[in-house]
Symmetry: C2
Subunit: 273 residues, 2 copies
């Protein structure tokens, strides 16, 4: 029997990270993805740092049995709280979502005014402004929490009048008070609203999807470590969720626009024994 194929592990507090998984599949079609969403304990935004670290560690311990070559933390909160810890503990590369979006925004911005939208937790953490300033202190960064976006996306509303009105209502006052030329979608749910956000803000603002950018940096790191598969994938992707798998399936199939097989419910406490 051949050696088991190595995979990219993706962890998230829930379903938002599926946009990162989708981009990994689109940009790296030869790679196998193993995804774990902690939908039972979602959202992480209101958890303490210690809780998020324990949960993240549990998820990674579960995924590490799947023969991984890389871990992607496809969750802003878990990236902010657990990326450094995981990089110290694991011998394979670990990637978060905050720096890829920040680097892409610095590249895109001509006027050094970068806006960030995210959940209340992500905005409160100041993770994006800190990441931006650690690379380029000249950047003017302003964040806006958009707490109504995730519930709307999870209801399946991403385009049409209702989505457009809510997006406009939240983002136009931000655009008018802050002269950004670049906006980071600092939440992995928001790429599903990208078309609507671009319409509302106009073409003059560059929209940066952390999901697209994280997948692109995963591509880079795998090449750097000679880990990129150059042949077609042998087996299907795998999905795991700690909560209701049918809700997960519905959202995943909407994002991937295809049927999801290989989806299982897992219990985290059991996985940590």
């Amino acid at each position: 029997m051949d050696e088991v194929q190595e995979a990219i592990g993706v962890i998230d507090s829930g379903v938002g990270g599926l946009t990162v998984a989708y981009e990994l599949m689109r940009q790296l079609p030869n790679e196998k993805i193993v995804y774990l969403g902690d939908t039972l304990r979602c959202p992480y935004g209101s958890r303490t740092k210690e809780e998020v670290q324990v949960f993240t560690k549990e998820m990674v311990d579960f995924l590490m049995k799947k023969n991984l070559k890389m871990v992607v933390i496809a969750c802003n909160t878990a990236t902010a709280y657990a990326l450094e810890m995981l990089r110290e503990e694991l011998t394979i590369p670990v990637l978060g979502v905050i720096k890829p979006g920040s680097r892409a925004a610095i590249k895109a911005s001509k006027n050094n005014h970068i806006g960030i939208i995210g959940t209340e937790g992500t905005v409160a953490s100041q993770a994006y402004p800190e990441a931006l300033h650690s690379i380029k202190e000249q950047v003017q960064a302003e964040s806006l929490a958009c707490p109504l976006f995730v519930p709307m996306v999870e209801k399946g509303i991403t385009e049409g009048e209702q989505a457009y009105e809510l997006v406009k209502e939240n983002l136009l006052p931000f655009k008018h008070t802050f002269p950004m030329d670049t906006l980071i979608l600092g939440c992995t749910h928001y790429p599903l609203l990208e078309t609507t956000i671009q319409q509302a803000l106009g073409e003059e603002i560059s929209i940066i999807s952390s999901s697209e950018e994280t997948a692109r940096e995963a591509s880079m790191l795998l090449e750097f470590f000679d880990g990129l598969r150059t042949e077609s994938r042998e087996s299907g992707h795998e999905f795991y969720a700690t909560g209701d798998v049918e809700v997960f399936r519905t959202i995943a199939e909407k994002i991937f626009n295809e049927e999801i097989t290989n989806l299982e419910k897992v219990c985290m406490e059991k996985a940590t024994i």
Copy 2:
């Protein structure tokens, strides 16, 4: 005395790589750049693989005395012929220009049709189609050599009617025969023509600058290896050229839009003793 500040070394066959240096300075303003352009032996496009490897090695040997933490090969030909060799020989990260542009194009393209323009050498080498296919075999890649672009840029003509007419004449037939939604500027001179190329092709085509993308990946790799400076730079950038320094200065000052200090002529044969 403090330890000498670590720098990013940039090598190129001539002046084209200055667009990569410019992007490194823009995206990573805390970093010090040491640039060496082999203007005496430029262009590399018509050289053999062995010649390019020897020249590249000589340049890197010279720069390695400058306390580098990373080397960027800001030349398509040298990347194609010498990247793997340098990665094996050096203990610091080495970055080329071909894969960053390829990854960014795969990220940007929605219809998987990616055009590449470059010098005759780069197009003949098939380096971009090979890089694209090694990551995503579904990509349709078509290349076009634009041998008149570099001489025009080196004359300082990058905008206006003459530039627009030449760009249109070269690129419109390409656009009409190949349904690309993304175009890679596969030559480090071409970012200077980016505005003109975008005008000629229209907004519906995404233009990928290998220079911007390489700087962005340098940012990523430095962060990954904990090598990113988070404080302001202490000293100025350094520039070296093997040929006429006044021609070099004129082009460099046009690209950076500021005066170039710290420019010296160096002799490569001497540097290899």
